[in-house]
């Protein structure tokens, strides 16, 4: 018997089998996959050798190997604090959200009708944050506490920078990583940071904002009210970085004058994971809502008048506002925000207070036991100057040799005894005094209903059922790469030796992680053709920003600091110009030609016109139009010839892996969306990871971190709160690359391109593909034209998108990069059967449009305009539509086998943005609006 491994993981990952591939190739018009790839990818950029990566191995073998690697981590009790605390993920949340593809495989909730579950969980998150911070409105969510503080700084700057104000005061009570990230962010946009003691700082009319930490990084609870009052008198805004668990017992920042509150929701049930991912929060006054960064869930109504949730005020965001956006943030931390909100739902206000009181009692007991007088009140963190530090414990070590501890939900009586050096009796007296919270919070029924596990389980499942995830059907979102997130890739995430490490744990206890980092960096460098990798950036947008800062630093070292022009094609993703502005560049747009390619003469003219101040070009490859541009090397050369560096946006890397490499084409830096190309699930809108890879001459400038040895010798400051970003989810790309091997990865790329061309070809007679490249082929995605139907049938692209829901599909990317079109990216993971099902749905919708064109279907009252059709509408006693209920709800045979019912009808975007409500509405709102189906 053959004892060799009989399964190849790549065959599980890649959708079409060999026979399917042959059949698909016949339609696309090529004898072999190789021949199609030769035609699609310009020969001059083809990688001439196989990727030098370890050979593919099986799932079980690699799980064992990764387990062995990660077992070299030493998971010790952590008392380090500094914004990261051990906590207990309630098992009902771990199994049914964190480990559940029904929650982790969705995309950002742009299609509101099929995203009501996570939108509700995020609305709960916003309500929780607004309640606890005592402010009016909160977003959902940001990347980490430090970047949230930096976002707060830029918001205050935008609001108060008139009259030449450019100083931001940062209290030395803030966490050191927060101070460092804020400094990095301030530098390129000419904000001056003053770090110091707020009691000694003289406010003046140059100061536009102040940042304070409450409780302070060393645990002290300080009365900031007089200082904030003074700040307001000087027309400065006050930002308070704070802690949600502490706020269950402490007077909230909104009650002592804070204009913005930021922080991390990590300790609400999310593992520390050696740095992340976790959801950060941002709360502010209602009057500043249009200046807030990040995603905001709002309440609106659907076509039947029932309450429905949606993303509100999207015009603030980078995908619409580009270089004028409030921030470059795109992917946030939805999955972790959902977990934190569910933790609050599960425990409720009383449960949270119990946890907080216990933590506080343990801290009080230790302070008393050490007999070291803490001058100010404290919550969970103590700073000792005289007491001896016990050995073998991870405590916080201050630069002056003193030490401290932070307690958390997992701290035990044994821990306390070890720290005290003897057995101690837990004291129950509170040290909070005048800082004690008096206002109630989380009074909404959602936080008071689901405290038994059964109720909680059913609430989670109820919300899950409202969302369309990859567990239902393909999500063919162009530019998003919604590929398989294999279970074996996900399993390590919840291992204790992955989740249990504090981001600032001593280096010698994190050997496993560093082996993982080193291997992954080597592999990613090989895949991109670059010399070095930084794993610090926490999302694609942060990768862009970090990469551009690296370019600026390089230019500065060459005495070319004045090079501040960034060329960006008009077709670029909105994060590009938003990131460029954050990095201190001025954006100059480059035109595209009729085929959607960069207009090379225009590029050359602009590069030459700016040859004395050209800093960089940002380019996406293949282009955002889904085409392998043949001129890419020339484009890079033009930029280099005029003194600039080339930043390649890695959003479309799924078309490159194993076939061509950014480094070989002439790019100097690129970021990778590990949550696209390398299988980290999208989590409904995060987490992401956006490491950057750079050519050798840029390696010295990779980002450093004040609390770890990382980055280049002349590295830029930290861009993320932690040295290695969301370290724990790096296990996912490690598994993926190891499972696939170089050959498997290359096969995946080829099939991704085949799948896109197969769809383009099947849909061509109905929806023409707008742009094609080399060999009359598209790359890994295709933009199909739907604009013609507006004149012929009054049908807009949105109507097609919503009608797809009735067929059980998530719409492709809508109206981007070209208004009125759909961009379809199937990825390699979709089988021919699934691709055919999707094409059949599109073709059937085309027939429905034809019926409108021919006049047999009404132009205003039809299947598309009324889509999606809810169960509510189709089973109503009254049905007065010019088509059957059956056609409305069961338009294709598979819908009879498995019907995904949209929980709400078409969501009214205009109503939602005119009446912005971003916290849980009172329960009556859900019961009285049971309007009649129209």
């Amino acid at each position: 018997m053959n004892t060799e491994r009989i399964e190849r993981f790549a065959d599980r990952h890649i959708g079409p089998g060999p026979e399917d591939i042959q059949e698909m190739l016949r339609l696309v018009g090529f004898p072999t996959l190789e021949a199609m790839i030769d035609a699609a990818v310009p020969p001059q950029i083809r990688l001439k050798k196989p990727l030098s990566l370890p050979a593919a191995r099986g799932e079980q073998e690699l799980l064992s190997q990764l387990k062995a690697i990660m077992s070299k981590n030493e998971v010790r009790r952590s008392f380090i604090g500094m914004g990261y605390y051990d906590c207990i993920t309630p098992p009902v949340i771990q199994r049914n959200i964190l480990e559940n593809p029904g929650w982790y495989t969705q995309y950002t909730p742009y299609q509101a009708e099929i995203s009501q579950g996570r939108l509700e969980a995020l609305l709960n998150f916003q309500t929780m944050v607004a309640d606890l911070t005592g402010l009016e409105i909160a977003n959902a969510s940001l990347l980490d506490e430090a970047t949230a503080a930096a976002e707060a700084m830029t918001m205050c700057y935008g609001l108060q920078s008139r009259e030449g104000r450019n100083i931001f005061f940062v209290s030395d009570t803030c966490h050191p990583q927060t101070i460092a990230v804020v400094q990095t962010r301030a530098l390129p946009i000419a904000i001056e940071i003053v770090v110091g003691d707020h009691t000694k700082f003289a406010l003046n009319k140059k100061v536009f904002g102040v940042l304070l930490q409450y409780p302070a990084t060393d645990g002290r609870i300080l009365d900031y009210e007089p200082f904030i009052q003074q700040a307001h008198e000087h027309k400065s805004l006050a930002v308070v970085a704070t802690d949600l668990l502490a706020l269950t017992l402490l007077k909230p920042p909104g009650e002592f004058g804070a204009d913005v509150a930021v922080g991390s929701a990590q300790r609400f049930g999310v593992p520390m994971g050696y740095g992340g991912p976790h959801a950060a929060f941002f709360a502010t006054r209602d009057s500043y809502k249009r200046h807030m960064p990040g995603r905001l869930v709002g309440v609106s109504k659907d076509a039947q008048g029932n309450p429905a949730l949606r993303l509100a005020l999207q015009t603030r965001e980078q995908h619409i506002r580009r270089e004028k956006a409030t921030s470059n943030i795109c992917t946030a931390q939805v999955l972790l925000g959902v977990m934190a909100s569910m933790y609050a739902v599960y425990h409720g206000p009383e449960g949270l207070k119990r946890i907080a009181r216990r933590v506080h009692a343990l801290a009080t007991t230790l302070a008393t036991a050490h007999g070291e007088h803490q001058k100010e009140p404290f919550f969970d963190t103590l700073h000792f100057r005289r007491a001896a530090k016990p050995r073998g414990l991870n405590a916080r070590e201050y630069p002056d040799g003193s030490w401290g501890v932070s307690f958390d939900e997992t701290t035990t009586a044994d821990d306390l005894n070890r720290l005290a050096g003897r057995n101690v009796e837990v004291l129950s007296d509170s040290q909070l005094g005048a800082f004690a919270r008096t206002t109630p919070f989380l009074t909404h029924p959602v936080f008071n209903r689901y405290h038994t596990e059964h109720e909680m389980l059913r609430y989670i499942k109820r919300l899950e059922a409202k969302d369309l995830s990859l567990t239902t059907s393909m999500i063919p979102l162009g530019s998003c790469t919604m590929k398989l997130n294999a279970t074996a890739e996900m399993l390590p995430l919840t291992w204790p030796e992955v989740g249990g490490l504090h981001p600032f744990a001593p280096r010698e206890q994190t050997e496993g992680y560093h082996t993982l980092f080193q291997q992954l960096e080597t592999w990613l460098a090989e895949i991109t053709g670059f010399a070095a990798v930084s794993l610090q950036p926490n999302a694609g947008s942060q990768g862009e920003y970090a990469g551009l800062l690296v370019i600026r630093e390089y230019q500065k070292q060459r005495k070319q600091n004045h090079r501040d022009i960034c060329l960006i094609p008009v077709s670029a993703h909105g994060t590009n110009p938003a990131s460029a502005v954050m990095a201190g560049f001025k954006v100059v747009a480059v035109a595209c030609d009729a085929q959607g390619n960069i207009d090379v003469p225009d590029l050359r003219a602009k590069a030459q016109a700016h040859r004395n101040d050209l800093g960089a070009l940002m380019v996406t490859y293949p282009s955002t139009h889904g085409v392998f541009e043949e001129t890419i090397q020339e484009v890079c050369q033009i930029v280099h010839d005029n003194g600039g560096q080339v930043y390649m946006d890695g959003a479309n890397m799924n078309a490159q892996v194993g076939l061509c490499r950014p480094g070989d084409m002439g790019a100097d830096v690129c970021h990778l969306n590990l949550h696209k190309t390398f299988c980290i699930p999208h989590g409904g809108g995060g987490p992401g990871m956006g490491p950057i890879a750079v050519a050798g001459h840029l390696a010295p400038y990779l980002p450093k971190h004040p609390l770890a040895e990382v980055g280049g010798p002349q590295g830029i400051g930290p861009v993320s709160a932690v040295p290695w970003g969301s370290a724990s989810i790096l296990t996912i790309p490690w598994m993926y690359i190891a499972l696939m091997g170089g050959d498997g990865l290359t096969d995946a790329t080829k099939v991704a391109i085949l799948n896109a061309n197969y769809i383009a070809k099947r849909l061509e007679p109905y929806f023409p593909t707008l742009y094609k490249g080399h060999g009359d082929l598209v790359a890994h995605e295709c933009v199909i034209d739907c604009r013609q139907f507006k004149t012929t049938a009054d049908v807009e692209v949105e109507d097609i998108a919503k009608r797809l829901i009735d067929y059980g599909f998530h719409a492709p990317t809508m109206s981007w990069p070209v208004p009125g079109t759909l961009m379809i990216e199937p990825t390699e993971s979709e089988s021919k059967a699934e691709l055919d099902r999707f094409c059949d749905a599109m073709i059937a919708i085309h027939a429905e449009i034809k019926a409108i064109e021919s006049g047999s279907m009404d132009r205003a009252n039809n299947l598309l305009k009324n889509a999606p059709h809810t169960a509510h509408v189709v089973v109503a006693d009254k049905w007065e539509r010019p088509y059957s209920r059956e056609l409305a709800a069961f338009p294709a045979p598979w819908t009879r086998d498995h019907k995904f019912w949209p929980p709400v009808g078409r969501v009214d975007n205009v109503y939602g943005d005119r009446h912005v409500v971003c916290i849980c509405p009172p329960v009556e709102a859900y019961t009285t609006a049971d309007a009649q189906p129209s």
Binding site: R290, T315, R316, I320, R321, V910, D913, R914
Partner: protein, 126 residues
Amino acid sequence: MNVPKNLKFAKTHEWVRVEGDIAVVGITDHAQQELTDVVYVETPAVGSRVEAGKECAVVESVKAASDIYAPLSGDVIAVNEELSRAPELLNQDPYNKGWMFKVEMSDLSELNELLSPDDYAHHIGA
């Protein structure tokens, strides 16, 4: 397309009604149609100074946020407060109830730079 004969126009789709040395400013019917349903209007502050051709206000629809450029230079002496409650006035009645702000003009010669109704109609292809 409605292009009233008594107004002057900027190429960037703002209209101006001259009342002595005061200019009343809004966005054109064509502009509101292109923007679709307006959800929010950010007007310049009363007392602030606007410069001809420079951004001075923002009009938001669900799909876009568009900068509004001052057609003339001068001090803002009034803004249409009603728009904060009812931004849809910009769609419903762009030339009357949907006016945005009034400027006390500092340089009347700038009026000569604006388009006539016929020229504007030609500009938008109407």
